[in-house]
Every structure is written in C-alpha cells, then in structure tokens.
C-alpha cells in the first residue's frame, strides 16, 4: 500500500454526468481518475488503489454491482469506500455488499458535497444509503 492517498475513481459511462461529478469533486484535493466502463475501472483500481470509488450502476459490459462485488472480493481493495451513483433508487438485494454512500440521480449539489465531505475527510457514512430527492419526488 502506498503512503500517499490514492485518487478518486469516477466510474460513469455518461460523459456529461462524469464531467458534472468531476466538477463537484474538484472541491477536494484528490486526483480524479475516470473510467467509462466497469472493466476499465477494475483495471485502474487494481493498478492504483483509489481513496474513493464513485460508481455508476448501469454501465456497458459488467454493471456497477458486479464491479462492487469484485472490488469487495479483492483483499487489496475490499475496504475502499464506494459511493453508488445511480438512477436506480433501489439499493438492490440484501446480499449486495454494503456501500459507503448512495446518490440517486438526479442529485443536488448539497447532497453530493455532504457525502463526499464525509468520505474524503477520512470518515465514512457507515453504509447508510443516502439518496437525494430534494430536487422533487
């Protein structure tokens, strides 16, 4: 494990949303590495242990849940915090690995900031799904 904190791995296939999240993440002093697919994300993660994974679920190829499972099954990466960002408001079945944050698209800036604050300041949100509907039901 390297001594310096790893990058934030941003996994999102939609270019505009990826840019939007990158803009949001610019507030924290982390390098942001982007991946448009699950496979690429896993490759990057195994190469550079990320400080945080921001993970979209609906991805081309393997989906976000599968990426999450593989991360959790890798001993090196098992404890990397993960924030799921999805249009799916259902966190899924019980057997899915716990995540440290949950953002439902479309999300508000305030919510995104709060979640990233908690995780990138060193703590986690203890796996409580945090969805954002303040933009409307």
């Amino acid at each position: 494990m390297s001594g310096s904190p790893g990058p934030v791995l941003l996994v999102e296939d939609d270019h505009d949303i990826r840019s939007l999240l990158r803009e949001r993440l610019a507030r924290w002093p982390y390098e942001v590495v982007e991946a448009a697919s699950g496979e690429l994300a896993l490759d990057i993660a195994s190469a550079r242990r990320p400080a945080l994974v921001v993970l979209d679920i609906m991805l081309p190829g393997i989906d976000g849940w599968e990426v999450l499972r593989r991360l959790r099954s890798d001993p090196e990466l098992a404890d990397v915090p993960v924030v799921v960002v999805s249009i799916v408001d259902d966190p899924g079945e019980d057997d899915r690995p716990a995540v440290q944050g949950y953002l439902q698209k479309p999300f508000r800036a305030a919510t995104v900031n709060r979640v990233f604050d908690e995780l990138l300041a060193g703590g986690t949100t203890a796996g409580v799904p945090t969805d954002d509907r303040s933009g409307g039901p």
Partner: protein, 693 residues
Amino acid sequence: VRLDVARVRGQFASWWWDLSLRWKGLIVGSLPLVAMIPAIVVALWLSTSQEASRADARETLAAAAGSVTLQRHLVQLERAAVAGALPVAGPSTALDEVQASVERDIGSLRAAASRAASAPALASVEALLSAVDRLAGSASSDGATVGPALAEVQRRSAEVADRFTTLDRALASELASALDETAARRRQIVIVLAAGGVLAVVLGWLAMWLFTRGIVRRVQTVGEVTARVIDGETSIDVEEPGGDELGELVRELRRAAELLILHNAELEVSRDAERAVVEREQTIREVVRRVHQAVGQHDVLDATVREVAAATGSDGAFILGVEGGVAHDVLAEWTADGVPGLGVGSSLPVDAQRDANFGLLLQQWHALVIDDVVSTGFLPQTREILGELQVGSMILAPVLGEDEPLAVLVMVTSGRARPWPPGSDRLAEVVAAHVATALTHARLYEREREMVQRLRELDEAKSDFVASVSHELRTPLTSIRGYAEMLGDGDAGELTSDQGRMLEIVQRNADRLLSLIENLLTLSRIESGAFRVARVPVALDDVVRATLDELRPQAAAAGVVLEADVTGCIPAVLGDRAQLERVLFNLLSNAIKFTVDGGRVTVRLRASDDGVEMSVADRGIGIPAAELDRLFGRFFRSSISQQRAIQGTGLGLMIVKSIVEHHEGDISVESEEHVGTTFTIRLPAAPATVSVA
C-alpha cells in the same frame, strides 16, 4: 287285496281332498249322529221285544184273571147246588151266570191253557164246559138228573180249579220271568244308548280333531307359501292341494305367486334396462365431464378419444378433422396396445378423403353404427386404410359446428367385427356434441389466450418501455439539473437577474419533468406488481415541513399561500419517507394547480385514535360529484381541469391511493364544485416500541 285296499284308500283320499269344506264339515259334524244310529236301532229292537214280553205278561194276567172269575162262579154254583137252591125247573140264575162266565172266559182260558201248553187244562175246561151244558140240560128237563149233572160239574170244576191252580202257578212264574225280562231289556237299552253316545262323542271329537288339524296344517302351509312368495322365492312347489276351498285358495295363491314372479321378472328386466340406461347416462356424463376438464384443444381431443374408447370398449378412437365435407387429417387418436394407429397430424390419403361413401357418412347429422366395415360400400382405398388399421366395426359421430361438421369422432374395434355395446351410438353422439362445444370453446379459449398473451406482452413491453424511458430520462435530467445548479451557484460567473430568472424557470421545469418521470415510473411499478415501500418509522411532521418547503416556489409562482396546521404530538408511522413525501407532494401540487390566485392551501396533521390523520384542503374549483368515484382511477382528469386546460397526467391521485394503501392506510375525498376539495389520509401509527430513525 292289499293293492286294492291301497287303491280304495287312494280313491277315498282323492275323493276326500276334492270334497268341499262345507261337505267335509257336514260329514265330520254328522259323524256322531251316524255313530248313534246302530245304538238307536238296537235300542228300538230291544224295546220292541220288551213290548212282546209285556204283552205276554198281560195275556197271562188276563188268563189268570179269567181263571179266578171262573172259579168264583163255580164256587157260587157249588154253593147254590149244595144249598139246594138250585131250582129244578128252569135254569137258575147261578147256572146261567156260570154258563155265561164259562163262555166269556173260556177264550182266555183256552188261550192261557194253550199258551201254557197245558193240554190237560184245556181238556178240563172243555169237560167242564160240557158238564155245565149237561147240567143245564138236566135242569131244564127234570130234576132227577140234576144231581149227577151237578156232581159232574162240581167234579169238573174242581178239576179245572186244580188244573188252573197249577196253571196259575205256572202263569205266575211266567209273569215273573216276563217282568224280569222287561227290566233286563230296559237295562240293555240304556247300556246300548250310553255306549252309542260315548262312541259318537269320541268319534265326533276324533273326527273334528283330525279335520281341524288337517285344515290348520294346510292353512299353515298356505301361510308359509304366502310368506315365501312375499320373500320373493321364485319357485313355489306345493303338493297337490285338493279340490276344496283351501285347495282353491292354494291354487289361486300359486297363480298369484306365478304372476308375481313373472311380474317381478318383468320388473327386474325393466329395472335392468333402466339401470343400463342410467349407467349409460352416467358413463356419458363422466366422459363429458372428463372431456370438459381438459382446457386446451389438444387436451380436449386427447381426453375425448381416450374416454370414449374406454367407455365403449373400443380398440381405437380417432378424431378426424373435417374440412369442406371431407375428413383429411388426424386430430387425435387413441389405440389399445398392439392396435395400429394413423398418427396424430397425419393426413388421410387423398383417395380416402374423396371417398364419396365416406363423405356421405360424414354428412349424416347423427352417429352411424357400422357393424361390419367389409360389407359397407367403401372405395378400395378407404377399405385399404381400414384394413391396415384392422378395423372390424366402426361408429362414426359427426362433431358439428354451427353449420358444418368440424370433425368426426370414429370408434373402431380391431380384428373381427363385433357388435357394439347398446347405447354406444348415443354415447358417441352426445360426446361428439360436447366435443363440438368444447372444441369451439377451446378454439375460442386458445384465441383468447393468445390474445391475452399478446396483450400481456404488449403491456409488459409498455411497462418496460416506460421504466426504461423513465430511467433514460433521468440521465439527461441529471446533467440539466446539475449544470443549472452550477450556473445558479455562480460556478460559471455571476448571473444577471434576467439570467437568474430564466435559469429558475429552467430548474422549475426540470423539477416538473422529474416529478412526471417519477410518477410514470411508480405507475409502471404498481402495474407490474413490483411496487414496494420501505417499513421504517417516519415522522410525518418532518414530511409536511420538507414537502411544503419544496413546493413553496411553485406555490409562490401561482400566488397561492401554503400553510401547515400541525398540532399536538404526532406519532410516527411505519413506512417509506420518500413515498409519503410523494403522496403529499402530489396532493399539494394538485391543490396549488386548482386554486386560484390569492387562494390558500392548508395541510392539517393530527393524531387520531389509532394513528395519524393528514388532510390537504384547498378552496379551489372542486370536483363534480359525478366524477368523485373515478377520482383515483388511472388517467383521471376532471372535466373542469380539461375545460380550463390545467396540465396533468391523471396519474397523481392513483399513485397517491396506491402508496397509501401500501401503508395500510386509506384516503377519502370531500369536494364541492367551486367551493373546494379536501383529501384526508389516515395512516396507522407505528408500534410504540420503535422510534424514528
């Protein structure tokens, strides 16, 4: 001789058997009288001989009396003579008297003497008679001879007296014996009569006893026979009953029994026939029931051939599809083990299809029983097929559609022709009729099912489409809202007030679009049954506050005042906060939409007996009463909102109701046109043990 006795006895017996009971009774009753007759005859005879003895005794007594009279006269005569009173001239009175007495009594004296067989007495009487004559003669002539004549008379008289003394003694003894004899006769008569009476009584009793016993036995036999007949015994063999009334009765009974047996047999036959009919009907019903249990067309046809073959003992059963009046393919078949079949789906050879005779058979509107296919005029091609199938006998029943045969039900026996069980043709007809119905239904059902399947697929496709479109719409909305927010935050530099106003419009409409998408998504979940709500404690006052905050910009834009009326301690409810917010959001945005500028919308929250009551009241346009019951339906839009062109999808209230119901709550509405509308939601409180997370 013995044979004769036996024959006589037999003759008597048969005579006696044939004698009527009346005569038998008469005979038996008169038997004591008959027994008395000999006794009476003997008694009469005895009494006759007693009478003779009595006459003898009377005669003897008369003779004795005569003798005594004579002697008295003689004594008088002697006494007169001795006294010299006997006149000399002319016959004296005494003499006359003697003479008259002698003449008068001489008869009885003679009789007595003769009866006593006493010749000396008779001679003495004759001598006395002549002595008296002489005395009379001498008395009339002179007196000289009177003396000797009298002496003669006296002597003769003494002689007669002696004789009669002896005779009297004999008569006395004779009388005594005659009396003895009379007494003896009387005793005999009594004995004979008594014996005859006893005999008659005994005989009569015996005869009566025998007669009664015979009758009782035969009556018992009649009773037993009757009982056996009643018990249903079919062969009544009783001995020859005789010709009397009882015999007649037995004969009548036997005839009745025979009639009864005959009747019973007929009844049994008709009952058998009836039972057979009932069984047949039952079989038909059973077959029909099983056929009806099948649902798909193939199941119906398979069930039919199987059941109909089982019910009639066929070796094979087929349903041939009929088109244009010809049987052309095999829709279903069942064959017993070892019996060849045609193969379901196979077509009949064209020649057989065109067999005019076969076609003619198909055009019959009732079942046809062909006991022997060989003698039926099929074309060689048809016969060839039948030969291949080893068909012996055949029943064909048309499966009739509305105006033409849909199919034909064929039942066959394999090998030798053999007769069909009775009623097989009717069974085939009824089953075929039901098959027609079932086939029509099955076809309709299958068509219906296909249609339902298509509709379901279509609906699923639509739901999938809605879901995926909703999801897909969220992605661009994320960018729109995200970047709009960044613009608003000044991330791209400060905005002018016009830019800010325009950006706010963009954001408001993005929110509206999002709400719409959420509603569509929820609807598709509700319809696909995938809609679920979380069950965590939710504080409704928080929900009210958050939702009101959220809608304030919208309300402000519409010039509507939103107010909350939350009083007292509101218990938590178990549910899904996001969904409950959506409920309130939908109700409030409706209320805002339908309230005129300057109006007021109130959210009221109260604790109720068993939960929470939340209401949203507006002073809006209201809902026509006639439309209230359709209010919570899908795509409902009130006529007023349509008239006023108020926007809406007509999904909001349906979703509200569904969410409330998923929370085990209920929703009601009160509305008056042009006055306003109040929606009231009641939700059960969460159990006291859980606290709001």
